[in-house]
Symmetry: C2
DNA sequence: TATGGATATGAAAACGATTTCATTCGTTTC
DNA sequence: GAAACGAATGAAATCGTTTTCATATCCATA
């Protein structure tokens, strides 16, 4: 493996000059520059990343924390983040916490050991006070997930509004027995949506019963399970708000299999605007999240923080959500889309 | 940021001894070991990864090349690979080539610059002779995708067999007008499936017409498009083999929307056994791929190659595929599952 | 009582880059 | 014609580890 020393020797110049050529520093004569470039080509030389990282105190790698990559929402987030990071010359290390606080804490050592220049948290499994100490080692940016106590830049979506518009839509269709379905108790995203959900109910003077709440639904299978539970209730809901399109699709699938009709017997709202929403029959009313913009902003911010080295500033960037009305809530009426 | 030097100073020992404690070398007295551990704790010391990488000539990072993470098959592959890599203490860098040969070549520089210890290619966009020169910098392992000319370890699935069993299943149902639908011309995975497809046809003395071939279908939308194309043919196929469940789902969705019935008017076979196969109505007959086993094996192999430093050996590890029969091919009969 | 082997420790070199500082040579400028 | 400055180059320090080599002590064995 050729090193900068080899290039220097071959050209009869010093390491310094070779380094200058590599880094496009001024004050290198055209003659020597050519000489160096030729030698580099001839030796197949390429600078060693570890040596550069050590000397420059920067790895050009970012860590992105997500619960699971197989969740389509997070796939989309990873795709967008990787593309945005690449524009800045950063690589992305994927950290799947699988909802485990220990795994999350463990991955945090990537920052401590300087294996990454910064961490984007799209999922939080620990209390903030456990995460906070890592701030001394590098920037942390919250993306999608958030925590009011976290004194770091946060890029998020207005989840309260998301829960609100989806629920309001169901109320406008005349529903009063509306079930609530979300993924996880810990997530502030889910909590915010629930606030929006209840806000809409309150506006319409509709009361909420705790037996209509299902807070452990993540996947298609969970949706199927939840549907069965709802149908086992003495007073069945006529509509359901869900925290993901997969869960919504599971509910719809199970309902159809059992001979129910959507939305006549049960109106269903999803979340995320994934591809499956256009696949099922009926198609799924959902809430669109501007994932690309959010990812781009998170990367912009973290790159800036890496440069300025001020990590403990709470700046909040919020993007709006949008209701997409499809067939799972409005029957055979003409489908309309509203902001 | 505390360094090993700081720990040495605080304890009054040398860097060497501190390093020995960190690396669990023998020949450190219990007394000094405790002293060092206390000092490390007190200073919040943690070894710097870049320095270690430089000195040890190893980064403990692997690169995984995939076309797009939003493709559920690759999400699953990434999840499994990340978990397997973590067991060995490796981090995973995700490289999305987005089907671009240039991007792929560009990401290959991660190996050349020693930013990663090895590369797992689950997607190949360039001819092997373009990739081959990178072998001098570190190990490359093929996983899922493959190339006969590639003199490297290859972990793959028997795609010829996969195409064969899926097609044979359709032939057994009495179909003779069977369309073929795949993603990409370049991929050897797709080519192999086509070989298996044609092999089955030949066994049943059924001829294949090129107008039944659609080789550019990746997503749900492509499936919808392909369905329309098939229906525009003068002689419509009665069954279709597809290279992914998303495409199959797209075809089914569009067919139902247009008033056709599945499988009566069109039998559909998918590939990958994704979650959506149990979601659609009818559920989708598909081919299950043992992704986890494949990913685990690929990681095992690359870790071994990193240690032994012998990269240019063609070893092939092949895993079997399995047909999962569901409703999209067998009508209202009882669903059965066969190996 | 030498001799040799285990145990314990440290000084210094090495990994491969970048940067600081010094030096030299021209060219202006007053 | 001296001073000042810009351009071009290199020697050596530096980043933070690990490892090699040397040294010292202790204990058992011949």
């Amino acid at each position: 493996m050729a090193t900068i020393e080899d290039v220097a020797k071959l050209t009869g110049l010093s390491r310094t000059t070779v380094s200058r050529v590599i880094n496009n520093h001024p004050y290198v004569s055209e003659e020597k520059r050519k000489l160096v470039l030729e030698a580099m080509e001839k030796l197949g030389y390429v600078p060693n990343s570890s040596a550069r990282s050590l000397r420059n105190q920067k790895t050009s790698i970012l860590a992105l924390f997500i619960p699971r990559i197989t969740n389509p929402f997070f796939s989309e987030l990873v795709e967008a983040t990787e593309i945005a990071a690449a524009e800045y010359g950063y690589q992305l290390i994927i950290c799947q916490t699988r909802y485990s606080p220990e795994k999350e804490l463990n991955y945090m050592n990537l920052l401590k050991t300087k294996q990454v220049d910064g961490v984007i948290l799209a999922s939080i499994q620990n209390e903030w006070k456990k995460l906070k100490p890592f701030l001394q080692y590098g920037p942390i940016v919250l993306c999608n997930e958030f925590d009011d106590r976290a004194n770091v830049p946060t890029v998020r979506l207005d989840q309260v509004y998301g829960g609100y518009i989806a629920t309001k839509h169901l109320l406008e269709q005349g529903h009063t027995k509306i079930a609530y379905c979300s993924g996880g108790y810990r997530s502030n995203v889910a909590k915010s949506r629930e606030i929006g959900f209840k806000k809409a109910l309150a506006e319409y003077k509709v009361s909420f019963h705790e037996q209509y709440a299902f807070r452990d639904a993540f996947h298609i299978a969970d949706g199927k399970r939840v549907f069965q539970k709802m149908m086992a209730l003495s007073e069945r809901p006529t509509a359901v708000f869900t925290g993901s399109d997969e869960v919504a699709a599971g509910i719809i699938s199970e309902a159809l299999r059992c001979g129910y009709r959507i939305p006549e017997h049960l109106a269903v709202v999803g979340f995320d605007n994934q591809a499956i929403t256009e696949l099922t029959n009926p198609t799924i009313t959902t809430v669109h999240q501007p994932v690309k913009q959010m990812a781009q902003k998170a990367v912009d911010i973290i790159v800036e923080k890496i440069q300025t080295k001020r990590y403990d500033v709470q700046e909040i960037y919020e993007f709006p959500l949008q209701l997409i009305v499809r067939a799972s809530t409005v029957g055979s009426e003409l489908h309309k889309s509203e902001a």
